[in-house]
């Protein structure tokens, strides 16, 4: 406590001294670059010794100046401070150390928690620029109320939505938990107009898409969209579901997965690796902490594994794919990953905003630093711009994964695979 108090004291002293030194001000007249200015104060200026600039003092000086003398639109000190923080963090030239204003931080929290209040339906825009229900989520308020895939949204709470963008429609449908929203939908080829009233509930984001790619050979497919608080439970359910369908080999798709929570990366990684570290965290002091396999997540059989990655597989996706590669637990197929091997700590601030600070590096289990380098797949296959991810007909990386998996399954008998576990 004592050193902190001293720090607080010295802070107030700096503020006072800074002002006592005084400033040198002059008025000049026009909107020009570099203006003719006043001379008389030059002597005063040169008398004064220059001192190093300090961040807090200069922020304070400039803010006080603006508050007292700025002529123009009204000064919003909060917004100015947000800008000052953005500029200060920008000087570190680390894109991940950043300021989150209250709206951005709220969104991030929602994404990490993996919940939102709404009706639980995925929307899209059709060719006629109409917003429609692409898919009502399983067990969602939407599906229970009878919303069907393909329904075109005409009105929300009796207000037409024609001409609105998808985000604006989403905003109108979302609201407080327990409240009602009325949708007017255009359904089917008969163009029947249906009114459905739905109670808004807490809905989990769907982080996992899974299916059997090949029932005959038993090739299962799980795509993970991000690492939030529900990811691992959803992943677990998907594995159980695929096992019921006789899965013999798994294609695990981490493409376009931007990452998420570190502890969730450990949970998911633990599902594929026997023991030992998933990732090694290195703090600025140089101290290394190994985050090891969580045995409670090893509740499934092991299957031959192929992991799909691309240049948008980042952060937590790279922890998992890097650990799988280092442990020879599967084959990585696709293109080199993004290359973000830095851990951020999120600190909430007093007014609902937050700051994300890069606080540590991480290394793969074998000690590789993949920052700016990425994880190089074992089998490089370029993606296609027109690929529908998960559809082998249009997705060349997935097609390659399937053919490799067939080789693996041919070489390794199911019995041997079980035995190896």
């Amino acid at each position: 406590m004592k050193p902190n108090l001293r720090r607080a004291l010295s802070f107030s002293i700096i503020v006072i001294i800074g002002f006592a030194i005084g400033f040198f001000a002059q008025d000049v007249g026009a909107q020009l670059q570099g203006l003719p200015s006043q001379f008389e104060l030059m002597s005063e200026r040169s008398d004064r010794g220059k001192t190093e600039i300090t961040i807090l003092q200069s922020y304070y000086d400039v803010m006080s100046r603006l508050r007292d003398t700025y002529y123009g639109r009204n000064i919003d000190e909060r917004q100015l401070t947000y800008s000052a923080i953005r500029g200060m963090l920008g000087a570190l030239e680390d894109p991940y150390t950043r300021f989150l204003d209250p709206a951005a931080y709220k969104q991030m929290r929602e994404e990490n928690e993996g919940n939102f209040v709404g009706i639980g339906a995925q929307l899209d825009v059709n060719k006629s620029q109409q917003v429609y229900i692409k898919e009502p989520l399983p067990d969602s308020p939407a599906i229970k109320a009878g919303v069907k895939a393909g329904d075109i949204i005409l009105k929300v709470d009796d207000k037409p939505v024609a001409g609105l963008g998808i985000e604006q429609v989403v905003q109108r449908i979302r609201g407080t938990e327990g409240t009602k929203v009325k949708l007017t939908l255009l359904r089917g080829p008969q163009k029947k107009v249906v009114d459905i009233t739905i109670v808004r509930r807490l809905v989990e984001f769907r982080m996992v898409r899974s299916k059997m790619l090949d029932k005959k050979d038993g090739i299962g497919y799980i795509r993970l969209l991000g690492f939030n608080e529900h990811s691992d439970a959803q992943f677990d359910r998907a594995l159980t579901d695929l096992e019921k369908q006789n899965m013999k080999g798994l294609v695990f798709d981490l493409r376009q997965n931007p990452g998420g929570l570190l502890q969730v990366a450990i949970q998911i990684g633990s599902r594929f690796i026997d023991k030992g570290p998933i990732v090694i965290i290195q703090e600025r002091s140089g101290r290394r902490t190994s985050l090891d396999v969580d045995p409670s997540r090893r509740n499934h059989r092991q299957y031959p594994l192929i992991v799909l990655v691309d240049q948008q597989s980042a952060s937590a996706s790279e922890i998992v794919s890097g650990a799988i590669q280092d442990n020879n637990a599967g084959t990585l197929v696709g293109t080199r990953t993004f290359g973000k091997a830095r851990v951020q700590t999120i600190h909430p601030l007093l007014d609902g905003s937050a700051v994300a600070i890069t606080t540590a590096k991480y290394l793969t289990p074998k000690g590789r630093d993949i920052n700016k380098v990425g994880v190089q797949p074992d089998v490089v296959v370029e993606g296609s711009e027109t690929a529908e991810l998960g559809d082998p007909a249009t997705d060349p990386q997935l097609a390659k994964a399937i053919s490799l998996m067939k080789e693996k399954l041919g070489a390794v008998t199911p019995a041997a695979s079980v035995a190896s576990h």
Partner: protein, 458 residues
């Protein structure tokens, strides 16, 4: 973790306590520097000293300060690389620059020490770089404002003049780079917003987005471009412009160098009429005019033509001194300050031998700007001097320069200069009383007016 955050909150509370106290004292000390009659700062700094400002300060919200301090502390304590001194400086500069830029006011900006030097040298009439005075133009269109650069005036004898740059030239690229506004992504954001509600063919959209991406990637922020044009750091600068009027696209290669401008020069268009050209309102101009005016009187000149064409303004103090040589003690300008306050500024009271009481005419043009416009307006309002020439630039915002502890500085807009009759001429300029085009025609006109016997003296 929990105890840590409680501790942090406690520290913050303590800091706020101190910061609040500091603020009261600070404001007092600061005020005493501005107003010579204020109590001695040393007594004000003592805790028991008089603190008249406390009441006015209670409305200051300290939360932003807390938030800023918290972020700073977190970065210093936790960032993956230890923060060293050069990094601290970059962070300080970054925070001030970003804070001021967020106001989107080109007059309110951060200057690095090197730019401060260039800025201050300009007040002595030493222009670095290409030797042109460049203004930031803000154009509002499609629902957003974009900043661009144009040449306000070209310094005589400068590399820019030799190359052929002209006032009114709009700068398109600097070293092949497009000039970018504060927020170069506005166009893209607008486009994407439009694409939500209107039907824009995908191919067209992609094409525009790619072009925008190129423009931003290969562009240069207008402030960076300005700093480059006003420094001698590069060997050669290529500038592409669009000429006002003709619309011609021209490219110039200019080697930056320092151009020295003599603020005051004079000559005799007629044996008894003297034409005094004042390019800058600075200390040197004041000193030279203080010597010249007694000399003009001694020589028996009948009239002075005050040539303020291309005059760039300068310091308020110099403007007051110079105005005092023509209309001593009269109102020079009324300053419009924040919160609807106004402050009249009077011309200095000069000794009688330095006051010109003979005939007076003032020449102005579209490059007459800032306090030079203010001076012209006051001579018109107070002395009935005729303004001859063309409409002035219309730049009457008051800009204050504040130096920071390490030699960097900021400029901020702190008010607006109005004419003695409280007229605002921002963006409009002052109309000439007698509109005449052409350099020699303008002088001829002035000579003609001043040669006429005054109505009352017949």
């Amino acid at each position: 973790m929990r105890t840590k955050s409680t501790l942090l909150l406690l520290i913050v509370a303590i800091i706020v306590g101190f910061a609040a106290r500091a603020t009261f004292q600070v404001s007092h000390v600061a005020r005493s520097r501005v107003e010579p009659n204020a109590p001695n700062p040393s007594t004000a700094a003592a805790p028991t000293g008089p603190r008249t400002d406390v009441g006015t300060r209670s409305d200051v919200d300290l939360r932003p300060l807390e938030i800023f301090y918290n972020v700073l502390k977190l970065v210093r304590d936790e960032y993956v690389e230890p923060i060293d001194k050069p990094q601290e400086k970059k962070m300080a500069y970054g925070s001030i620059r970003s804070m001021l830029d967020s106001l989107h006011d080109p007059l309110t900006r951060f200057l690095e020490p090197e730019q401060v030097e260039a800025y201050l040298k300009m007040s002595e009439g030493k222009f670095q770089g290409i030797g042109a005075v460049i203004q930031v133009v803000q154009v509002k269109q499609n629902g957003f404002t974009e900043e661009g650069l144009s040449v306000l005036s070209v310094v005589p004898g400068s590399p820019a003049e030799k190359a052929g740059l002209k006032p009114g030239d709009n700068i398109i690229t600097v070293n092949g780079k497009m000039i970018l506004p504060y927020d170069p992504y506005q166009r893209v954001e607008k486009l994407l917003k439009d694409a939500q509600t209107q039907q824009i063919p995908r191919e067209k959209l992609v094409k525009i987005l790619e072009a925008e991406n190129d423009r931003i990637k290969n562009g240069i922020g207008f402030q960076k471009a300005l700093d480059m044009l006003c420094s001698n750091n590069s060997n050669e600068i290529e500038i592409a412009i669009k000429r006002a009027g003709t619309g011609a696209n021209l490219t110039f290669k200019i080697n930056p160098a320092t151009t020295v401008v003599n603020p005051v020069t004079w000559w005799n268009p007629k044996p008894d009429i003297v034409c005094v050209k004042v390019r800058l309102l600075n200390k040197k101009a004041v000193d030279e005019l203080a010597q010249a005016i007694p000399e003009f009187k001694q020589k028996g000149y009948r009239a002075v033509i005050l040539d303020l064409r291309d005059s760039l303004g300068g310091s308020l103090e110099a403007a007051q001194s110079i105005a005092g040589m023509f209309s001593p003690g009269k109102t020079l300008t009324i300053i419009q300050l924040p919160k609807s306050k106004t402050k009249p500024i009077k011309a200095a009271v000069q000794p009688a031998d330095r006051v010109w009481s003979g005939g007076l005419a003032v020449l102005v043009n579209s490059s007459t700007s800032g306090l030079s416009e203010v001076l012209a307006a006051s001579l018109r309002d107070n002395q009935s001097a005729k303004l001859i020439g063309t409409k002035t630039a219309g730049q009457n915002l008051k800009q204050t320069f504040v130096e920071l502890s390490d030699g960097s500085g900021i400029t901020i807009t702190t008010g607006k200069y109005l004419t003695p009759k409280s007229k605002d001429f921002k963006g409009v300029g002052l109309n000439a009383d007698i509109a005449v085009n052409g350099n020699s025609e303008q002088i001829d006109k002035a000579v003609e007016i001043l040669s006429k016997p005054k109505g009352g003296s017949v």
